[in-house]
Amino acid sequence: MANLVAVNNQQHQQLKVNPAKAELHGAELNLIPVVLSEFINVAVQYPIVLTKNGDTGEFVFTAMLGFETHENLFWQQGQWQGLYLPLQIQRQPFFLGENSNGEGSVVCIDLDSPMLANKSSEAQSQSLEVLYTSAGEESDYFNQAKQCLGQLLQGEHDNKLLIEQLKAFDLIQPLSFEITFVNQQKTRLNGLYTINQDKLAALTSEQVTKLHQQNLLQPIYTLITAMGQMYALIERKNQKLSA
């Protein structure tokens, strides 16, 4: 569990973070939520599917990195082997929390993150970044991190819009199939959803125009394209099994 506290320039003036270690947060994730603005980057290597949030049952766009819990096939020899690191991982160790007065949001940091350098020996390393300059101003690194959080926040709104529209046009269908890996091990994928291409093709021109005007056509086609990465992911698993 993350141990989140609000960031401020008094308490966290001395805090040092190793950005390269962000990927550790994804080492054991087989599903990572992604936002619309990064679909193209994600689609370069990972399948994007819809899953349901366990607490709310609401749909979530998710990059798929493995076939079972804790299996990230892009994590090898202690490193992230993928070309693109999803924003959910890039943003570590920062989160947006609600301001205590209930208005707006406040940047929080996870004090339990392995990215934080709190041992003195480690604190000497060159690759560390600070949050505040010695003058108490926000560092470039911290500013970048805040932009990343902003992109995620905007992404929540974009995702919601796309999901509402997919539901309204009945374009989501369950994805259920069984994969037999090279060692004859079988896995049945459940709880995944994707775009129903037949229904997409049957939309009226008014409906297509509506999607186009909301800039949703392109992400829908990116979702469909990214499904093709499922074969690459199976291949990755087979290679691991035969290694």
Binding site: K52, N53, G54, D55, T56, G57, E58, F59, K167, I172, Q173, P174, G191, Y193
Partner: protein, 531 residues
């Protein structure tokens, strides 16, 4: 009250308008089913008119359903999320029968809604019975329902039959509903009139107008004149205005088989807003009957149904008070007479009765609403196109439903004849052979030598599957003796696999499912997805 008219009905008269008289759940479900199936909203569709008295309150019996209610709601185009939110509904995964065998504190068994593990491939009951004979100590013995079905464990732990991620009407464990019948009637009315095109007339029916062939031509109303139609559905409750009063179709009592004749019902608030909500009906045997306990989202519905020949009302009130506890002071206890039985036929001329007007039985296996659903479904799917074919449909409807009523009566009686209770003559009288229908006696004789099987129930209109009989029989300690046929127990390997699989399913279900209350809270907050 009958007026004859000179109207003639031709054999080729088309069924264009169906008039439903009465607006309880029976009326609205029938009108809704007809309107949805026969496209009442379109110009060429059937006219469905529902006439309802503004002065007669609904009886509001039947707060438990069968899993069939899911397909009924789907057929009506209702969203499960809306239904659960607006009808105070909760999930029901079968029934727990407590104190039916010997009345001791640990006396209970389940009639779950999930079939025994591997039911289509193996008769697990035979193997379970054989294991019972071998295992010595009582402590390693597990009940039939627990060893062949994962649902008992789910119920015992207060868990829901699915998660918020499951699509609406989908399940992990088969389920039905508990619902507030008053709210359900209002909900159905809104849906049927706004979405399905049922015409709603709020008026009192004053008389029935016959035509030459004895059919009903129209019903006269106080303010809206005569309402004419080709088919009339009697949903007028116990008064059975059309089938009983107008056509004088006799009532067939079954009080000689089922002794319950009175209900004392009370609505009990939860202790606090996070009290667990049982996901099954709890039915607890008492001295002269049994108490139902049904958990809705915001209250429990509790009632004592008893035989007035075996208990005074004062004594019955004391039994109910002892079950509910101190909080019964200040709650309103409603007394409802129960007349067990049904009409000798349900469809006469162009009139068919659905709901209490057709008959009623004690709510032991929630048979009231399922009979309404099955009737509404058959009427709408077999709706006679013309007057000429109506008598054929009527005959088949009557045969089908007489069979169903008889089977339900047998199945309810089964719960009583296997009891060993002797604390009141209510229980011993129930075991008197002269009160047991011959059809049930025959089955009991067959089952001395083998478990209930699908071929014992040869109609495609069966209400209870063989599995239900197994759950009750072996839950209550009945033994079928397979010693004469050891060759039937030749697949122990597969049987053990099934027992092991059930254990694994219990583990998986218990770790994956939320509590019933947690899920209901989430439905109110987020709702189910349609896929």
């Amino acid at each position: 009250m009958n007026k004859s008219s000179n109207q003639q009905t031709q054999n080729n008269t088309l069924t264009k308008t169906v008039v439903v008289v009465g607006g309880g759940i029976a009326g609205w479900l029938t009108a809704g089913r007809l309107a949805a199936h026969h496209k009442a909203k379109s110009n060429t569709g059937l006219n469905v008119v529902l006439v309802e008295s503004p002065n007669i309150p609904a009886i509001g019996v039947g707060e438990g359903t069968w899993p069939t209610m899911r397909s009924t709601l789907i057929a009506l185009g209702i969203s499960e999320t809306d239904f659960i939110r607006e009808c105070d509904a909760s999930f029901k995964q079968g029934a727990k029968f407590a104190k039916w065998v010997d009345g001791k504190a640990d006396d209970f068994y389940y009639h779950p809604l999930v079939l025994p593990q591997g039911f289509s491939k193996i008769d697990l009951a035979a193997y379970w019975l054989n294991k019972q004979g071998k295992e010595k100590s009582g402590s390693d013995k597990k009940s039939f329902s627990d060893e062949v079905c994962f649902q008992e464990a789910v119920c015992e732990q207060g868990l829901a039959p699915k998660t918020i991620r499951t699509a609406e009407f989908g399940d992990i464990a088969n389920y039905a509903y508990h619902l507030d019948s008053g709210k359900f009637a209002v909900f159905l009315q809104k849906h049927c009139t706004e979405k399905l095109g049922v015409k709603h007339v709020l008026d009192d029916v004053t008389s029935v107008n016959s035509i030459a062939n004895g059919d009903i031509g129209s019903v006269a109303t106080k303010h809206n004149g005569n309402i004419a139609g080709e088919l009339f559905v009697d949903c007028t409750g116990f008064s059975s205005l059309l089938l009983g009063k107008h056509y004088q179709v006799p009532f067939k009592s079954c009080a000689d088989v089922l002794f319950i004749d009175t209900a004392l019902a009370v609505q009990v608030p939860y202790e606090h807003e996070n009290s667990p909500i049982a996901s099954h009906t709890i039915s607890t045997g008492q001295e002269a009957g049994w108490i139902w306990d049904i958990g809705l989202q915001h209250r429990r519905g509790v009632g004592y149904v008893y035989s007035s020949k075996h208990s005074s009302e004062e004594q019955a009130r004391a039994v109910l008070a002892s079950y509910v506890g101190d909080k019964i002071n200040g709650l309103t206890v409603r007394k409802i007479p129960i007349v067990s039985g049904h009409r000798e036929k349900f469809w006469q001329n162009n009139c068919v009765a659905v709901g209490l007007s057709a008959g009623f039985l004690e709510p032991l296996e929630a048979s009231a609403l399922v009979l309404v659903e099955l009737s509404a479904q058959m009427i709408s799917e077999q709706l006679p196109a013309t007057r000429e074919v109506m008598d054929i449909v009527a005959k088949r409807f009557n045969e089908t439903f007489l069979y169903r009523w008889q089977k339900i009566i047998d199945f309810l009686k089964l719960h009583y004849i296997l009891s060993k209770r002797t604390d009141n003559t209510f229980w011993t009288d129930n075991r008197d052979p002269s009160t047991i229908p011959q059809s049930l006696k025959d089955l009991m004789q067959l089952w001395q030598y083998r478990a209930p099987a699908d071929h014992d129930f040869t109609s495609n209109n069966e209400v209870f599957p063989a599995a239900s009989y197994q759950y009750v029989l072996y839950g209550m300690g009945f033994k079928s003796d397979y010693q004469h046929a050891p060759h039937l127990l030749d697949n122990w390997h597969f049987a053990e696999q099934q027992f092991a699989k059930n254990k694994k399913m219990i583990e998986q279900a218990v770790s994956a499912l939320p509590t019933n209350r947690e899920l209901l809270d989430k439905i109110r907050q987020y709702g189910f997805s349609t896929i």
